[in-house]
Assembly symmetry: C2
């Protein structure tokens, strides 16, 4: 049995997230259809992480098993000719059965993009969160210091999500301004709870507008209570940048 | 009578170009509707240049006359609340009757974006021309030298376009590579014939793939024959960056 690893880029706008849902257009659903058409097999496809509806990916990773003998570039070209324009397979590799897209991952890097100016943008409207209030990125960076390291991130997890441990380690958070009024927040962690990246961004924004002081992050973490943290940032500003193995 | 100048950003994807056409969604049509709703007047709106279907603008300029006493920020906020998300008014200014969005312009700057890598991109698919063949930007830059200056650009004008002089002056063309396999071509000229920017890009790409040597541009110009130049680059890679007055 072969195991194949895929690297995927997608525009989340037209998908109801990664996870298969009957009757809805999902990344997994569209990919599995194409894979089944190519292999004539029933395919089980597993991703590094299940991105939510509207979230983009520049390099999502997924794997599947197949008995097919189609060469790798046959998969690459065949899939890309079958797939819609908002989903591109960037790489196809043979891997060993010990590789698991989700369990083998040692870290994931997400990017969150904010457009911080008075007026919205027509061109990047499905690509950034537009915030008209001026954000203080020094305060936001100060707040990040409390997030780095191993913590119980219950306060940043979507309420109602299933319990499977809530301790994660954030290795790095970088915030920088980019020409054109963009603010980029890159979060690198060993794993993310449901909506954790978006809840962190929503909270950092409240620190950037001076609603809370940077050290309030410490209190939020200690409370282990979703109610303490800021709102969930919208999905269309979030990009899965990289999965590290 | 007041004359008002607008600066506009739009995503060309959902518009049949600038120019009003009955029954079609155009930038001019959508804007005039919003302006007439605000002023209760019949509005005549004139743009610096009529962008084609699919072409984007970061700073299109337009003007109109009105007897309305609505303050400038009332226009800015009112228009943006009436307009769809793919059309944003970035600035509103009172100008004198001597200002004319098209006739007063001394130059326009267009950007053309190419994604030059084997695989297309899901995220920027309506924003760049994807070219999988490797382009030699040194050859392309060499070819540009023949375009700079005052020339008869008949060979780069859409066939069948009305005659109104075909001499234009290109002040500058810059080609640069950007991280992520992008090639940016910026063309600054005193005016552009119909599809001139896209026909120049289509021709430069044929030089970049070594179909023609750079100096072939000279022959194309001298021939004054649209058949001599390369194909028309697709509209979705083109952005009106700036109008200079």
């Amino acid at each position: 049995m072969r195991r194949i690893k895929l690297i995927l880029e997608y525009d989340g706008t037209g998908f109801h997230g990664w996870q298969f849902q009957p009757g809805l257009r999902t990344v997994q659903g569209v990919l599995v259809d194409a894979l089944q058409k190519m292999t004539n097999e029933k395919i089980k496809l597993i991703a590094a992480g299940r991105t939510d509806a509207g979230v983009h990916a520049l390099a999502q990773v997924a794997h599947f098993n197949t008995a097919s003998t189609i060469p790798l570039d046959g998969f690459l070209n065949g899939l890309n000719s079958l797939l819609p324009d908002d989903l591109v397979v960037k790489d196809v590799k043979d891997v060993g059965q010990e590789f698991h897209a989700q369990r083998s991952a040692i870290g994931k890097r997400y990017l969150y993009r904010i457009l911080n100016r008075a007026l919205p943008s027509a061109i990047v409207r499905f690509r950034v969160w537009h915030i008209p209030t001026i954000l203080d990125i020094y305060k936001m960076s100060e707040g990040c210091k409390y997030l780095i390291g191993k913590h119980d991130f219950s306060s940043f997890r979507a309420s109602g999500s299933e319990i499977r441990g809530s301790v994660r380690e954030i290795f790095e958070i970088k915030i920088n301004k980019e020409k054109g009024d963009f603010i980029n927040i890159i979060i690198f962690a060993n794993g993310f709870l449901k909506q954790m990246a978006r809840n962190i961004v929503g909270t950092l924004v409240e620190i950037g507008t001076s609603k809370y002081p940077p050290k309030y992050i410490k209190e939020i973490l200690e409370a282990k209570d979703r109610e303490k943290a800021g709102p969930t940032a919208p999905p269309y500003g979030l990009y899965l940048l990289e999965v590290v193995y």
